[in-house]
Amino acid sequence: MFEITEAPLDPARLVAAVRRDESGAVALFYGVVRNENLGRSVQYLEYDAYPEMAIKKMREVADEVRAKFEITDIGVMHRTGRLEIGETSLLVAVSSAHRAAAFDACHHAVDRIKQIVPIWKKEVWDNGEAWIEGHVPGTG
């Protein structure tokens, strides 16, 4: 399951989608809007995405993770639009027979998503705003 949506993310739906009867472990990662970044007090975030390509790149990350770790399934959801402090922007769920693979694969997936999936966030403070420039995605 790979989704880009303006609606609040539903972790239960994602976990149900990745769990198999042979899965003994599910690792679920929440990326959450926090109230501070680099010393600046954050009011809220705004996310923009290139949805068609973001879904394609999420699938690419999933394929990479499946090749590298022994997992039963992986799913990713990312929210767009305005998000308040404490709201969830990113969910990554990995199911696996054993816990180590679930943790490692989920961590790796989060790292790769932040590197290659075309999604952007704008920080809004009380006295200004800025689009955050993260990774320049490679062409390889």
Binding site: G31, V32, V33, R34, N37, Y47, D48, A49, Y50, E52, M53, A54, K56, H78, S89, L90, V110, I113, K114, Q115, I116, V117, P118, I119, W120, K121, K122, W131, I132, E133, G134, H135, V136, P137, G138, T139
Partner: protein, 84 residues
């Protein structure tokens, strides 16, 4: 040829449009496209070095040759997820 280019995030905010149509000579490269964008919208020039081009939802290099019909987007440095 006419190329429609999708814009996102800071680049969208700077240009004020989700998509711009650029006129380019046949066989133009991604570099030429970026130059043309900066000619029409001079305020994007400072951002050109960080923009990666996507063609048909795949990242391409600066020398990639564009064709009419390509789905083209300019991609600022990505920053999905949380600050973690």
């Amino acid at each position: 040829m006419s190329i429609d280019v999708r814009l996102f995030a800071g680049l969208y905010q700077l240009v004020g449009k989700r998509e711009v149509r650029l006129e380019l000579p046949d066989g133009a490269s991604v570099d030429a496209l970026r130059e043309e964008l900066a000619r029409v919208y001079p305020r994007v020039r400072a951002f050109l070095p960080t923009l990666v081009c996507a063609v048909d939802e795949e990242y391409v290099t600066s020398d990639y040759v564009l064709h009419a019909g390509h789905r083209v987007a300019l991609i600022p440095p990505v920053s999905g997820g949380a600050h973690v």
